[in-house]
């Protein structure tokens, strides 16, 4: 299998000058292409911080993050923006769609930034809206969509440009159980159909049950990993 994400001894420390707090503490993480992985743990365990480090939204104080063998911790802020655009799809906790754009325009947004041709964009948007079962909502603005629908559009946006992997930070946190289940079905379907790697943080039991691999974080450290696969890096306890 191809390695997509490879985190080496990654740490993120807050309040270094006063009382240091390890948000992420010497984490080794290895994610292969096509995985559908949940990062779980209690609040404050470092799930979002780890996702931010993997997504190039933040820089670690120690360690390196390799995406497809490229060390993104060495990239400048501008290079990181470009890297994220071309390689990573994001789904945020509180939907974060652009309110002035319609659902279709939101999904097109990344492809437009990438300079993808209109014909290709249109075809991809049509395909994604069919996959998220929202063909009839393409021209509606986010404010007129339900939370679940908004999050499905956010997932479609994350997948629009066929990124190397999708990072989803608590994607079901603001959804009712039906919407959450629906969203998980869609994410699982897209993972299967598009072979896109999903790494999502959650403490939602329904999400954990659907994940094929579950990594548990406590106090910034990985305390368990259901994958139980050995990697060339540190093997964690299951």
């Amino acid at each position: 299998m191809d390695t997509v994400i490879d985190a080496h001894d990654v740490s993120k420390i807050y309040n270094r000058e006063t009382i240091p707090v390890y948000a992420v503490n010497n984490v080794h993480l290895h994610i292969e292409k096509g995985e559908f992985t949940a990062l779980v743990g209690p609040s404050g365990s470092g799930k979002t911080t780890l996702l931010n480090l993997i997504g190039g939204l933040d820089k670690p104080d120690n360690g390196n993050v390799f995406i497809n063998d490229l060390d993104i911790t060495k990239l400048s802020a501008n290079e990181l923006i470009d890297f994220r655009l071309k390689n990573i799809g994001f789904v945020f906790q509180s939907f974060n769609l652009i309110p002035v754009l319609t659902a279709k325009e939101n999904v097109e947004f990344i492809m437009l930034l990438q300079g993808v041709k209109k014909s290709i964009r249109d075809a991809r948007v049509k395909q994604l809206f069919r996959q998220i079962e929202m063909d009839d909502k393409v021209d509606i603005r986010p404010a007129q969509l339900s939370g679940g629908q908004q999050q499905r559009v956010a997932v479609a946006r994350a997948l629009a440009s066929k990124p190397k992997f999708v990072l989803a930070d608590e994607p079901t946190a603001n959804l009712d159980s039906k919407s959450a289940s629906n969203l998980l079905d869609i994410m699982a379907k897209l993972n299967k159909e598009e072979h896109i790697t999903f790494l999502f943080s959650t403490h939602d039991q329904r999400v954990i049950e659907r994940a094929r691999r579950v990594i548990t974080l406590v106090d910034g450290r990985i305390v368990s990993d259901t994958a139980a696969v050995s990697t060339k890096h540190e093997k964690v306890d299951v």
Binding site: L57, L85, V100
Partner: protein, 404 residues
């Protein structure tokens, strides 16, 4: 897409955007009104100078204006006048005899420029008849009549039919005095000139000066202002030994005033837009603060800093240019109205206005020639106004912005 986002973003808070667009429209309207008023005033001033004071062109003996010595008459003046009248661009030409002298009354005396005129021609050329506020034009049946300006009349306590004595030197240098009676008191739009100039019949002055049918000055009115350079060049070619001057050389202060006011009008426009820039900056800062999380999310998704800057710049441009057509339109309508009906500034005092050489009725003119400059100032204002909010947005770290 960025264009669409920018346009839709400015309408997210309709009231705020409408207020800023309206204030830009009002500011532009005010600026254009000032420009139009200045243009009208300057045009009126130039036409006062040309039509009521010095004409488009003047011809003198080359030595005359050094000391206004009456011996320096215009050689072959009658012939020159004939040729001048044949030039197609010339509407009207009139001769004047001029000398400097002393006006004396029982209560005092004042230095004046004594202008000997051919009444019929002068009434057409400098509108002298129309400026009379008391008395009547020269009566051919009466001798030694004089017209004095209101300011001089007040200063010297002169009334209609008052007697005064003019003293000056003739061409031989002999002192000559003669008594005149005030036939009329005139008031032009240039009080300093009213105080200095008196008008008498050219024949009577010529007798006293001893220059018979000669004269010192030919004043020329052209059919069109635009013919000035051409007519001057033609005269210079025909009369190379004479001093030929345009109104810009005779009244350099007017030319300077026009140029200075041109610059002032841009400064006023700049000040108005500078004040408005604070409103725009405030609005844009509010918009950025409200959208911190959204901007952070866009950067997280991969929207680069140039596109973020472009988005904010376009929003500022839309806000600024949104009010521009409205401001220009209101300015144009208002100017057109007052251009037709005139703007009466007599409330500011005729004396005050005339002391600067302006009439009280101004006809503002839409400053078409300055609109491109105004638009440049507006776009410049938008560009400068967007810088601070844009820098603020560009400094946002996506991870911090997303936490908000």
């Amino acid at each position: 897409m960025i264009l669409i986002m920018a346009w839709r973003n400015i309408w997210r808070n309709k009231m705020r955007s409408i207020i800023i667009i309206s204030s830009i429209a009002i500011g532009l309207f005010a600026g254009i009104s000032v420009l139009a008023l200045y243009k009208g005033m300057m045009k009126s001033r130039i036409h006062n100078v040309i039509d009521s004071e010095v004409g488009h062109l003047q011809i003198h003996n080359i030595n005359f204006k050094k000391d206004y010595d009456p011996q320096f008459i215009l050689a072959n003046g009658a012939e020159v006048l004939k040729v001048v009248n044949k030039i197609p661009e010339v509407k009207l030409a009139a001769s004047r005899s001029i000398t400097m002298g002393m006006l004396a009354t029982p209560t005092g005396s004042a230095g004046v420029q004594i202008n000997g005129i051919i009444p019929g021609l002068e009434y057409q050329l400098s509108q002298l008849q129309k400026k009379i506020i008391k008395g009547n034009p020269f009566d051919p049946a009466k001798e030694n009549e004089i017209m004095v300006g209101q300011k001089l009349a007040r200063k010297m306590k002169l009334k209609l039919r008052s007697k005064l004595v003019l003293t000056f030197t003739d061409t031989s240098g002999t002192m000559v005095s003669s008594a005149f009676r005030v036939a009329a008191i005139y008031q032009s739009d240039n009080a300093p000139l009213d105080e200095k100039n008196v008008y008498v019949n050219i024949d009577e002055l010529n007798v006293l000066l001893g220059i018979q049918n000669s004269f010192h000055e030919i004043v020329i009115l052209l059919k069109n202002d635009t013919d000035l350079a051409k007519a001057k060049q033609e005269l210079q070619q025909k009369f190379s030994g004479y001093q030929i001057e345009s109104w810009k050389e005779i009244s350099p202060e007017t030319d300077l005033l026009v140029k200075t006011v041109d610059q002032y009008s841009y400064i006023i426009m700049f000040i108005i837009m500078f004040a408005l820039a604070f409103g725009i900056v405030n609005t844009m800062l509010m918009a950025i603060l409200e959208r911190t999380r959204e901007i952070g999310m866009m950067v997280a998704l991969g929207m680069n800093r140039l596109k973020i800057f472009l988005l904010i710049f376009l929003e500022t441009i839309f806000l600024t240019l949104g009010g521009t057509p409205l401001g220009i339109f209101i300015g144009w309508v208002t100017t057109a109205y007052f251009n037709k009906h005139g703007l009466n500034l007599s409330g500011m005092g005729r004396e005050m206005m005339s002391s600067f050489g302006f009439g009280t009725m101004i006809y503002p003119e839409f400053p078409t020639d300055k609109i491109s400059g105004v638009l440049l100032i507006v776009i410049g204002t938008a560009l400068i106004s967007c810088l601070f909010p844009a820098i603020k947005a560009l400094k946002l770290q996506p991870v911090e912005a997303l936490r908000r």
